[in-house]
Every structure is written in C-alpha cells, then in structure tokens.
C-alpha cells in the first residue's frame, strides 16, 4: 500500500468535508474491494475516509411495504434478516463468510462492480437509494461499469427496497472468485414482475423482455424463446457473452420455478 491518511469521521458532514479537502479521497465502508486494491498498489488515495464511525448508518427497519437498510449494514446482518427472504438469501451468498462479516450494502452498490450481487436486488426491488444529498431511484442508480449516479463525494446513507409479494435470487457464481457470473432476481410486486440481472452486463439492469413475457405468463416456460441480446455482455475466462446470456435465461426460469 502507498501511504495515506486514515480518518474515521463521526458524522456525514465531517466525512463530506474530509473528502472535499482531500487531494484524492476515498470512502471506506467495508473495504472488501478498496483494501485489496490498495494492497495491489492499484490506487493511491491521499486520504481514506472510514465511514464506520458514523452513527445511524446501519440496521434494517420495516416501514409498510418498504424495507429500509442502512448503507453500513453488513451483508451478514441482511442475510440474517427476515423481511425479504430473497434479499437475505442474496446477501447470504455474497463472497464468503468473512466478506459478509465486513462488507456493506452501501459499499457494494457505490462500487457498482458488474459482478456484485446486491445490484440485482436494487434493480429488481424498486429500490430507492438515499444519499447525504438526495434520493435516487434504483433504476437510475447504476450507470455503467463501476459507475453510478453518485456525484463526487456523495455518500449512500441507506437503501429502501420494496417488500415484494414474492421474490427469488438465482446466482451462478464464478468458480474462482465467487462473484456472480450472472445473478438474477425475479420479484413480483402486485401485478408487476421485475427481473434484475447482475454479472451479465457492464452494470446491473432490468431484463425488460423477460419481464414482459413473465407478466403475461408467470411460468418457467414463458421465458423460452425470449431473445436476450448479449451484444454488450461481459466476457472473461469463465464465461463468454453468449454463455452469460444463456445463464440469464436459465436462472430466470429457475427463479420463476421457485416462486410457483
């Protein structure tokens, strides 16, 4: 690691001010991506601003049909929650036990790793991302490869998820890293069917063609023949774009099968 100044501010305001005053600051939540990157010397922030000292950023609470999850809530705590079983299931499949004991929801979505699990839920569960400045609709949050709608220095405070009538998350893990090669969350809220996909593209997205097919006929067979355009899909050692597209279909079908 290169040298940096470590800060543990006690408030969002203090954190934002530290960031504003830093030459090149980086927020640290769970550190599951940032710290390995620093260890590889692939980033050299002047200041690392640890958000874990800020009160009130973690915990889950249910408000009507919205589940409110603090940004610093660890994956393990979401995995142990009961309000949205599919979200708990998703959180329980992130990384490994040690990642789940440190990694946070806010850190995960702010990073917008194309292979992270949470973005599938943000896409599928009509989420709203609350920051220290504003609220951002889940559908507009992820904008590209490691890119989000967050402005420079903006901090995620919490995420609200719709509590669906039913939902299921299906994940095809990368055999080496255990990130999602493809992850699909299928959720039913009232009449709507949402299909959030992670791993396949540059960032999480909703598979609208699959949603339409499932809205018309919520059966595993309904997705057969739905074309999934893999033109912009990721490709790496473990999975070609074509295979990822195939997995999107298979995992969607399996998620639907679990829900009927």
């Amino acid at each position: 690691m290169y040298a940096f100044n470590y800060h543990k501010p006690a408030s969002l305001e203090e954190a934002a001010e530290l960031m504003a005053n830093a030459d090149d600051g980086a927020y640290l939540s769970g550190g599951m991506t940032l710290i390995p990157t620093l260890k590889q010397r692939l980033a050299s922030p002047s200041d690392v601003i640890d958000l874990s000292g800020i009160e009130g950023l973690s915990g889950l609470s249910l408000d009507g049909n919205r589940l409110h999850v603090g940004a610093m809530t660890r994956h393990a705590d979401v995995a142990a929650s009961t309000a949205i079983p599919a979200l708990a299931d998703l959180a329980g499949r992130i990384g490994d036990a040690h990642v789940r004991n440190r990694g946070t929801l806010g850190g995960s979505i702010a990073n917008s790793d194309p292979a992270a699990d949470y973005p599938a839920a943000v896409a599928a569960l009509d989420a709203t991302v609350h920051t220290n400045k504003r609220s951002i609709a889940g559908g507009e949050f992820f904008t590209g490869l490691f890119e989000t709608a967050l402005a420079e220095g903006e901090i995620v405070k919490s995420v609200d998820f719709c509590v669906p009538d039913s939902a299921a998350y299906e994940k095809f893990p990368n055999p080496a890293s255990r990130y999602a090669v493809v992850g699909v969350m299928v959720a039913r809220c009232a009449d709507a069917v949402c299909v959030g996909v992670t791993g396949a593209g540059a960032c999480a997205f909703r598979a609208t063609a699959l949603e339409e097919a499932l809205s018309a006929d919520f059966t595993p067979g309904a997705t057969d023949g739905v074309a999934i355009d893999d033109g912009d899909f990721n490709a790496d050692l473990h999975a070609s774009a074509e295979y990822r597209a195939h997995l999107v279909a298979v995992l969607t079908k399996r998620a639907v099968a679990r829900l009927i």
């Binding site: 010397r41 095809f172 080496a176 050692l237 473990h238 999975a239 295979y243």
Partner: protein
C-alpha cells in the same frame, strides 16, 4: 511388537500440537536483527530485450539499501540456474539448455521474470524503489502456443526451433508392426492443461551472512535443502558448500513446486553477503502465480491398437511438452523418464513407442508438480483405454481386466524400461467397484435422467513409479545427482531417540511416521522419539522429499540405521550379560539371551553405551548412534483403481462429483490416517485439474489466471467426501515393504473424472478443465 504407536497404527500427529495452536515456525515467521527486505522487479512483458535499466532513481529512493541488476550478479561471478537432468535426443545429442541467469541480464522471456532486486529498510521502501526503476524494454513477439512453438520466433539464441530435445522411448518398429495387425485403433488428441501449484504458504527466503565466520545461512521454503545448498555452492557460486547452511523450517506445502532452486532465494542469499545485512523476501501470491514453476502442459496425440478380443497390441504416443522459458531444476526429466516410462500402465501392452518433443515458450518454467509426468501418462493411457472400450462396445472394466498384468507375471518387465516388482490390479478394481456399487449404476443414471441430469461413471487404473530413485539407474539416464537418502538414529543417554533424516516434511507427517518406525523397531515409547529434518547443518547430504519417496527411501534409511543400533546393542548386551552376541535377541524393547531369563532393557543398554563403566572399549566404541544411507534397488510401484461418478446439469454445464472411490495399493502402511490424508489431498488436486484449474496465458504471454480471482482453486464445496480404501502387495525390495502414497491421488483421479464426464455427456472427449461453459458447449455438440 504390536505397539499402540507402532507401524500400522493411526497415530495422531506429533506436529499438530504446534500447527493447531499457531506455534508453527514458517520462513516468513522468522526475522533477524537488522533485517532488510527484498523486492524483485519483474518483467511485465513475455519477451523483450533489456535495452537499459536506469537504477539511479531507485537507489535514491528513501529507505532503499541497495539495487542490483542481473549484470551485478554476473559481475560477481554468480552463475546460471542449472537443470539437473540431462536428457538426450533421438539422435544422441544432448538437450539444449539455454542460459538461465537468476536475474535477467540482456533479455526477459516470461512475464514475472525478475530483472532487478531492490533491498529496502522496509518492504514499502523496497517496493517504492522497484517502482522507481526506469527500464527500457524492446518488446518482441512472444511464443505462447505450444503446438506451434517449434515453428515461430526463436526465443533463445542457442536453441533452434525452441526445441530442448526430441526424445524417444520404446521399440518403434515393433510398435508400428503391432498397429499393422490391429483390429481396431483408438486415436485421441489430448491437451493436459497447465496447472499452478499454489501451496498455501508462498515461497520465502531469509538470507544471513556472518562476516566473522564468512558463512551464509539461508532459511527458505525448500523441499530439499541439501540440493539447494549443492546447487547454490557448486553451480551458482554463492558460497562454498561448507560455508553455506540451508534450513527449511516448517514449510507450508510444496507439491513439487518447492523442490527447485529459484532465482529469489539465490539472489537473497547473495545479496545478504553483498549488503552484509540479513535480507528477507516473501512472495506475494501474485508473484507465486508468475514465478513458481508451473505443472503439466502437454499436447499429445496417442493411439492404442487392439485385437478383436480387446487385447492391447500396441501404444503410440507423441507428446509436445512445454518447458516454459527456461529449464527449471528437474524440468527435463518430467515429460521423459517420469512420463514415457509409465505408458505401460497396468497392462501387458507388448509394444509401446513414445516420442516427446520438449519446447520453450515465453511462459513461466514448467517442472514437477504432484505426480510429475505420471499424471500425464496415466491420463493418456486411461483415457485411451476407456475410449477404446466405448468404441469396441466392451465394458471399460472388462477391457482392463482383459489386459491387466497378472499377479503371477511379477516381476514384470515393461516395454518402456521399468520392472514392476509386485501388484494385484484386479484386487484394487474389484474393491473399488464394490465401494461404488457399480452394479446399481444404471439405476442411478436413470434417476438422474428423470431429474433432467446426466450421470456418468469413469474409471482409472493407474500405476506410478515412486521412491525416486535407484541412483545408478537415474544417473545412467542423465540425472546429475544420486538419489539415496540418509537416516541417522541417535540414541540418547537415557534411551530416548533423536532421528535425523534428510527427507523434509512439508505436511507429510515425517515427525510422526518416522517416530512410529523407531517406536516399533526399538520399542522406545513414541513420545520419546524426536525427528529432526530440513537442515543441512544437522543431517548429512541427502535428497529431500519428492516423488513419494520419503518413507520408501528415507524411511528405509532409518530402518537400516536402526538395524545397526540393534546390532551394536546386542554386542553391548552380550558383554553386560556375559553371553555370546549370537545368542542375544532383541524383542519388544529388550535384549534377551536365548534360553535364559537374562534380559536388559533398551534404556539400560543405551546408558551403558554412554556411561562406559563396565564396557568393552577395546571391542566397541562408546555411544549408540548410527547412520545409514539407503539407495533403493528399484522404484516402487504403487497402483490402484479410481472410480468417479458425476452428475451433469446439461442446462448450465455444472459438473458435480457425486462419488469418488480410490482403492490404492501402497504396500505396507505405517500410518493409515496419514495415508488417507495424502490420498484425499491428491484427489482434490487431480479433480481440480479435471474440472477447475487452468493456468491461462493470452496470446501475448500475459498470465490471465494470475490470482485466486481467476485461478480456480478447489474449495470445500467443490468436492465430495471421498471413499478411500487400500489393498496390499508389499514392495519386495525395501525393508518396510512400502511403496509411497503422496502422489497417487493426483495421478489416478484426473482421468477418472474426465472419463465420467464424457460418459455422462456421451461424447468422445472434452477439453480440460471441464468448466461449466466447456461442458455446456460440449453438451450442445460444439
């Protein structure tokens, strides 16, 4: 004596007490006063000329103690890293060994090759210094694809066509004739995927120089510290042998990759002398991926000729083996004498001809990795046999039985230069089939089919040549060193025993199994035996641990030394009891005079030897400490039957190993618990090769699977629990009747898995590793 802690007992390990409490001492746990840290600057290019290295900024970096380039080592007389086995080509010419400077001088030839060494007061300072090096590389096109490597750019000036050697074994004419009369020929193209060993402890070295004594001490993660010392002294010229002590403390796994003498420890021990400061280096995993010797990596065409009734008539194998950019310490022997010689397998194939062309590429050097040559040979033979059975419509186990070497055939001389001493191959197969409930397989397959899955079963009846090796045989075939082992048994004054062995343990449990041998042979309580290893300052020159040899060769040396102890003890006892030495027997830890009730305990005799109050000093030296060197007369031949059952999800291509049975014949067994553990670990690596692991370079020579993000290590949830059992035909030529068990799991299992996957899919072949996408595509007929 049927000792509770003797031979054959599943004794709990002595070494565990420190390992489970965090008190193990691995190289990186050590430190020295005034220690500095080494960082190697490594080539980002697969092939480039080094036009210039400007070290000024690096040297001026805060906390940097010294900066060394390859030229500095060369100027100081540091020699090249040698390969210890000279292989000759078909035409009788010697293999071509390109110069391999520890630190690159004029050119770099693989990504990760070190071209400079920066010593810092802290690791961060050394890293900063390494980043401040300004290097002018002239990039050149890299040679990466093995199949075409002989026809592309020439990597080394001295190596035309990038060919190290073009070797053959067996009778070509007889084999060709066998194919002429064949009723059926099975032909296969096989790629044996490159693996990266990945012992969980990364390599490390701590070099110290004692200016007062003019001597060097190197603590390092070596499987054979004596070989390390020999090479560093005799070939690399770091220091005279007597002024260099190499110590391997606790070592966290090796699997072959820590046999070799590498650039890093060479440079570290040299730099300690130059800087007069202790120098420490510990690999980061990213460095291990780039710079540890890799394993396997063959491209093969193989053919099996069969008679109408399934009798094997002949086997022809053409292999191209990847050496990587330079010859690692034993690289040349792996695809030749550890590969071609195993092509008979368990079968009476009368004519075999093997050709191996070994080529250089701009990739990390390739050398022995668990099994070393024998897994590759087994994969060829057992894939061919299974495929032949399918092609001729015969049950794969029946075809094997039809061709097995029978118990009455031993000693059996193969057409590829080995003489198997003993074995019973059907016994292992029978037991394996019983464990796997082969008869009910069809039902299980139907059940899977009904659930939308495809189930397959695959077999592998392997043989290996272990206990490396008879020195005379090995030296006549090009080995540069003898391959005996030394064992020293020091009886302490009070009758406890200290054993010093040249075999080094990096997980194999020597401290336990060797103590069991002593306990059994001398009747000394297991707790009173201490085993020391891994230190050139403690044991005589010996060869260390590899090739499943520790027990068969190292253990045999200890038995020989023990026999000497007993012989001397009898003489002492005879004197003390006023009896004839020929009348003294040693049994259950006592020296007894036959036909009398006179007896002395082992401890009493030991005490008398060291406190020679009444002692025949004119006939016997005082003391009770004996040493023996053991050079085996033959290899040992562990063999067995592995059966794998898989269930494939055709929709995703995911393969689940639902059952794995390994029945092995390791001869006699000293500690069945340890043996089972060795088999389990080997199976994980063999299954890992089949389904998960792959060292992948892109076509410019960049290692793409260079971290645990992309190199798929087998994890707990990738594997099933194994069914492991044994049969026993004792080795006929070593005193313990043991054969060795360290590599069997990795040798036998890979072919069984791929045979099962191809069975499930109903295809002739599939690329390894059979990853989900590969399986999915294969299932779709691509």
């Amino acid at each position: 004596m049927a000792s509770q802690n003797g031979i054959g007992a599943a004794v709990k390990r002595k070494e565990d007490a420190r390992f489970i409490t965090g008190m193990g001492r691995y190289t990186d746990d050590l430190g020295a006063h005034g220690q500095t840290y080494a960082m190697f600057a490594r080539s980002p290019h697969a092939r480039a000329k080094i036009v210039n290295i400007d070290t000024a900024a690096a040297a001026a970096t805060d906390g940097v103690v010294a900066v060394f380039t390859g030229a500095d080592l060369k100027a100081d007389g540091i020699g090249d890293l040698p390969c210890g086995w000279l292989v000759k080509s078909k035409d009788g010419s010697d293999m071509i060994q390109p110069p391999h400077p520890p630190i690159a001088v004029d050119a770099v030839n693989y990504v990760g090759e070190p071209f400079a060494l920066v010593i810092g007061e802290t690791l961060a300072a050394a890293k900063n210094g390494a980043e401040a090096l300004s290097v002018d590389f002239e990039e050149l096109p890299a040679v990466v694809d093995l199949a075409s490597a002989a026809r592309t750019a020439q990597i080394h000036e001295t190596v035309p066509n990038n060919q190290c050697y073009d070797w053959e074994l067996g009778d070509k004419a007889a084999t060709d004739a066998a194919f002429e009369k064949a009723h059926h020929v099975t032909r296969m193209d096989i790629v044996n995927n490159r693996l990266i060993p990945n012992a969980i402890e990364p390599r490390a070295a701590l070099g110290e120089y004692d200016a007062a004594a003019g001597s060097h001490t190197l603590h390092t993660t070596s499987q054979n510290p004596h070989l390390e010392r020999l090479v560093l002294a005799a070939f690399v010229n770091v220091a005279p042998e007597a002024k260099l002590r190499v110590i391997s403390p606790d070592v966290g796994g090796g699997f072959g990759s820590k046999i070799f003498v590498y650039a890093e420890e060479t440079a570290v021990i040299w730099a300690a002398g130059k800087t007069r400061r202790p120098v420490k280096w510990t690999a980061e995993r990213s460095e291990s991926f780039l710079a540890d010797a890799h394993g396997r990596d063959h491209v093969t065409h193989a053919e099996l000729a069969l008679a109408e009734d399934g009798e094997f008539l002949g086997l022809r194998v053409q292999t191209i083996a990847n050496m990587g950019a330079y010859l690692s310490t034993f690289a040349s022997s792996v695809p030749t004498y550890l590969y071609g010689t195993l092509m008979a397998g368990q079968y009476k194939t009368p004519a075999i001809y093997v050709e191996v062309q070994s080529l250089f590429t701009n990739t990390a050097p390739v050398d022995a990795y668990r099994g070393a040559g024998r897994p590759e040979a087994t994969f060829v033979v057992e894939r061919l046999v299974e495929t032949a059975a399918r092609e001729i419509g015969m049950d794969a186990t029946d075809l094997r039985r039809r061709n097995f070497i029978q118990p009455t055939d031993f000693p059996y001389e193969t057409p590829v230069a080995l003489t198997y001493d003993t074995g019973d191959y059907e016994a292992s197969l029978d037991k394996a089939l019983a464990h796997v409930h082969y008869a009910a397989f069809a039902q299980r397959r139907d059940a899977s089919e009904a659930a939308g899955k495809k189930r397959g079963i695959g077999f592998s009846c392997y043989i290996e040549a272990c206990g490396l090796a008879p020195s005379q045989v090995a030296i006549s075939l090009g080995a540069g060193v003898g391959l005996f082992e030394v064992g020293e048994v020091r009886v302490d004054v009070t009758g406890s025993v200290t054993v010093v062995t040249g075999s080094h343990s990096h997980g194999q449990s020597h401290e336990t199994t060797f103590a069991q041998i002593i306990s059994e042979k001398l009747g000394v309580p297991f707790e009173n035996v201490t085993v020391l290893h891994g230190d050139t300052g403690r044991s005589d020159y010996a060869l260390g641990t590899y090739g499943s040899r520790s027990l068969a060769v190292g253990g045999s040396a200890i038995v020989k030394a023990t026999d000497k102890i007993i012989a001397k003890g009898k003489k002492i006892a005879a004197y003390m009891l006023d009896a004839n030495a020929d009348d003294v027997e040693f049994e259950d830890g006592s020296f007894n005079v036959t036909d009398s009730n006179q007896s002395l305990t082992f401890a009493e005799v030991a005490f008398a030897a060291y406190v020679p109050a009444k002692y025949p000093l004119d006939e016997l030296e005082p003391g009770l400490s004996e040493k023996a060197f053991y050079d085996p007369p033959n290899f040992t031949y562990p063999a067995g039957a592995h059966v794998c059952e898989v269930e494939v999800d055709p929709e995703t291509g995911v393969v689940e190993v639902v059952q794995f049975v390994a029945v092995d014949d390791f001869g006699n067994i000293v500690n069945p618990m340890v043996v089972e553990g060795q088999v389990h670990g080997g199976l994980a690596q063999g299954i890992g090769q089949a389904l998960l692991e792959h060292g992948v370079y892109d076509d410019t020579g960049q290692l793409l699977s260079g971290s645990y993000m992309d190199y798929t290590m087998p994890r707990a949830d990738d594997l099933p629990s194994f069914t492991v059992d044994t049969t026993t035909t004792p080795c006929t030529h070593n005193p313990l009747g043991v054969k060795g068990c360290g590599e069997a799991g990795a040798i036998g299992s890979t072919a069984a898995v791929i045979n099962a996957v191809t069975d499930a899919l109903g295809v002739a072949s599939i690329a390894m590793p059979a990853t989900p996408e590969t399986v999915w595509r294969t299932a779709r007929g691509e």
